[in-house]
């Protein structure tokens, strides 16, 4: 297929539109994106990238703009992010990264849904009890955004399968629920030379940080691995949906900033929150 044919089809289908602030743009609908993709044997993502490069806004991302530029949107569509753990944190992260338009998501969790997940895990449902979390994540992504590719890995992350699971990803999002696995993930991310965004929750409280390969990382928060019990205060307090979803949201914000090389990251810093009394404070870990 010629590039000209692709761009020609996109331009033919594109329509004038207006942002809420009154500025005008040229828009490509979700329906036309899918139709052109089918006709030309291209993915929706390829159509969207070609449209953005021609200055045409896929309407699906219209409200990402102009906080993001069309160039930023292309960068996100060409990015790969791995999400390890698809529970409370992971379910929120998957939902948000699919909507903002990260092109490829690697979805890693060997677990199945159980009754006690329903209080907070967006991917869980009454009908989906005892089914795979990774498959639920894949299905959810495809229902939200057909332009996002998924790699569905229904297996638990361990130090042994780490390198294989993280292959090709640019960032890993730590959505795990125990401390030893978090340290294993950090080690694997460092070995792969990729940044890790890590959040943890107990009750109404939690914290989030961003760790680049050369940073000290989790030791600044938890001390040496093996110096503590595998679980923390969450065993006593449970995990409430407002706190876990807020931290998932903060993880996504860090992921997007890393990919776009924008804003100020939480490297060597910890954002600690407590929804009970509205504590939101960034602490220096060094």
């Amino acid at each position: 297929m010629m590039d000209g044919e692709l761009t020609g089809s996109i331009k033919q289908a594109a329509r004038p539109a207006t942002f809420p602030d009154g500025t005008s743009y040229t828009s490509l609908s979700v329906t036309d994106t899918s139709r052109i993709g089918r006709t030309l044997g291209e993915t929706s993502r390829a159509i969207e990238i070609a449209a953005l490069e021609a200055g045409i806004v896929p309407e699906r991302y219209a409200r990402n703009l102009k906080t993001l530029s069309t160039h930023n949107q292309v960068t996100l569509l060409e990015s790969t992010v791995a999400i390890v753990g698809l529970g409370g944190l992971g379910g929120g992260v998957v939902e948000m990264l699919a909507r903002i338009g990260i092109g490829t998501l690697i979805l890693i969790d060997g677990d199945q849904f159980e009754d006690s997940n329903l209080n907070r895990q967006f991917l869980s449902s009454h009908q989906g009890l005892a089914t795979s979390k990774a498959e639920a994540a894949r299905d959810r992504v495809h229902r939200i955004n057909a332009s996002v590719s998924t790699e569905c890995r229904s297996e638990f992350f361990t130090a042994r399968n780490a390198a294989e699971l993280l292959k090709g990803t640019q960032i890993v999002v730590d959505c795990l629920d125990n401390l030893p696995a978090r340290f294993d993930l950090e080690e694997a991310a460092k070995a792969e030379g990729i940044p890790m965004v890590s959040a943890a929750v107990a009750g109404n409280a939690g914290h989030i940080t961003t760790i680049f390969p050369e940073d000290i990382g989790l030791r600044l928060i938890y001390g040496e691995p093996g110096s503590m019990a595998p679980k923390g205060a969450e065993t006593a307090l449970g995990t409430l949906v407002p706190a876990v979803t807020l931290l998932a949201s903060l993880e996504c914000s860090e992921v997007v900033k890393i990919l776009l090389n924008q804003g100020k990251l939480l490297r060597n810093r910890l954002l600690a929150i407590d929804l009970a009394d509205h504590t939101y404070e960034v602490m220096d870990l060094r």
Binding site: A202, G232, A272, E281, M283, D284
Partner: protein, 76 residues
């Protein structure tokens, strides 16, 4: 008497004194002394913040500081 602003997170909140916002201390007291005074088991305190920076059990307080104490938190 000098005071500190004390913030206890997660499972430590149950040890919060009545006037945590303005908790009286003796100048020069260490975090460890503070933790023991609050009857918090020392091993429960994983992270110590003093005025937004990481502190130690041996760090001393003069008054006027904001002190945050965290247990290990790992849920998701």
């Amino acid at each position: 008497m000098p005071h500190i602003q004390l913030k206890l997170f997660a499972t430590l909140t149950r040890y919060a004194p009545k006037k945590a916002e303005q908790f009286p201390i003796e100048a020069g007291t260490s975090i460890e002394t503070l933790v023991r005074e609050l009857e918090i088991p020392v091993e429960m305190v994983k992270l110590i913040f003093i005025n937004g920076r990481k502190g130690l059990m041996t760090s001393s307080l003069e008054g006027g500081e904001r002190v945050g104490l965290f247990p290990p938190v790992g849920g998701g």
